[in-house]
Symmetry: C2
Subunit: 353 residues, 2 copies
Amino acid sequence: MKKPWSDKLRQAVPYAPGEQTSDRDVIKLNANENPYPPSPKVVEAIRQFPAEKLCLYPRITASPLVETLAEYHGLKKEQVFVANSSDEVLAFCFQAFFHSQKPVFFPDLSYTFYPVWCDLFGVPYEQKPVGEDFRIRLSDYAPENGGVILPNPNAPTSLAEGPDFLRALLQENQDVIVIIDEAYVDFSPYSALELLDEFENLVVIRTFSKSRSLAGLRVGAAYGSEELIALLNAVKGSYNPFTLDSIALAAATASIQDEDYFRQCIEKVKATRTRSQAALEEMGFVVLPSQTNFLFVTHPDFSAEAIYHACNDHDIFIRYFKQPRLENYLRITIGTDAQMDHLFAFLHEYLQR
Amino acid sequence: MKKPWSDKLRQAVPYAPGEQTSDRDVIKLNANENPYPPSPKVVEAIRQFPAEKLCLYPRITASPLVETLAEYHGLKKEQVFVANSSDEVLAFCFQAFFHSQKPVFFPDLSYTFYPVWCDLFGVPYEQKPVGEDFRIRLSDYAPENGGVILPNPNAPTSLAEGPDFLRALLQENQDVIVIIDEAYVDFSPYSALELLDEFENLVVIRTFSKSRSLAGLRVGAAYGSEELIALLNAVKGSYNPFTLDSIALAAATASIQDEDYFRQCIEKVKATRTRSQAALEEMGFVVLPSQTNFLFVTHPDFSAEAIYHACNDHDIFIRYFKQPRLENYLRITIGTDAQMDHLFAFLHEYLQR
């Protein structure tokens, strides 16, 4: 029955959460989480956190995280923005920077949240099909637009573009804001951060959820010119001024301060990625050359959807997207070597049936 | 110099943060923070938190906090929504429920963030002047509107309305969503939660920042009918699905589980409020009958702005609003007895100069 107030409500499609379970002991390779715990310095920062201070609001400046990130990346603190996960950082960016009647451009295969934010904030957009090889085509981004956003490396394709591509993209789009979403960049060889000096209209997004093993802490960052970062802070200040709690600020800061541990985890993931690619290719899978902490794979002789369901039934969670162009691909997060071996043993048996 | 991309940017006025300092040891009575630390059970939950699990995303259901709050308030879990502070809960509510061409009504003197969210989300609004006695006038909310939001108790006035007022307001506004923002309700005798059974268009907002001494943790909640809470979850899922980090979920849950400590803190604040009102009246201040953790006061013979600056110079932070109707009032958060005695000693000396 229609309620009398129904015409005042926004129409919103409920979000379909990814699979989670606390009941069963599963091998979780479906959310691109890091299989290794955060730095022991993070653990210590949480244990030592002066909880009695929680009666006070966090620092409005998100201190000391902002200063620590600025120093780490060799930027001014006025070029650093932090918020509650890179999802929230991106939501602020869409509101701040995509305020045009012209469509924002992004790839058809990329982060599935981009069109959701466009719909929520009324931002017009056009999705540009990636090529048959799943690569982003530079020429698609030349026409006039209201802004550009690209994940680099891209997900779910796992492919990365290098400095020539990014510089050309920025040169072609000097009258709009260009956002490079670097959620997976720590597993790849190249970051757009070095282009910040050259392009004042560039914004680079990072997350603590993947390479820093802190998906449960919800911390993301944006880097850009002082003008653009000031606008992000103004939008955040108009929405929810204190989105990072005091514990998250302390723990994220501790993560940045443990470079050795960070590098070790990344090297472990990359080594497992190399091993995993070989093992899957051995079984006949086609594996795209990943620059991320996941593999994007297909098998010429077996249905991806069937493999996905079989894995699920055996408590191995991987990701399957039932949508055009992706329907015979699987996205497999790089777990520990032991987790991957378990997956490979299962797949080996499955493919031989 | 105007940049080529300037026309794609949103115009946003940077937020002016409240005074904070980490350099000086000040008496901080300007942000309605609780002077007492959070429950020892909260402290323990943080120390015992399994930090190695932070590599995983939080529970999409915000479990176990949602279930714990539902049980605590005698509601279904489908009637409970949680997010990163009541500011974020309110931001989601404005997007979800105020989706009309008709203006939303709220008092001219109330939470100064309401018009900011209206501007950010393009919600038309009308501010209804409170009376000479600073009370909200029921008849102002009778005309056709796009929704109603009221803080109860109200800030900065500290005044609360009772069940008759709220029931009449809801009866008059059955074709829109009515939001009662109960940030300070734990210091007052009456909550609109008991009206949820009666009015499906009612949404009640709560925060952990005041009565639960957790301003630094950023946790807020909304309660309403299953239909409205589902819509809030859909909007949250379209914005940032995981806004509460895993530590905040655990710590907030522990707070709810320590009812004795919670009650003790509230009684201490209320006792200090009674003492403080008497002490200020003794010095000639007019003190409104507060149902909150702050006092709203004026002095017939002294300038509020001058008192505010004098306090500030002596490292006592209180709140002054330089705006029409409030320019000779001060908002003073209830601190510990010792903090209040320090303030009174200073005021006593100041008034005698």
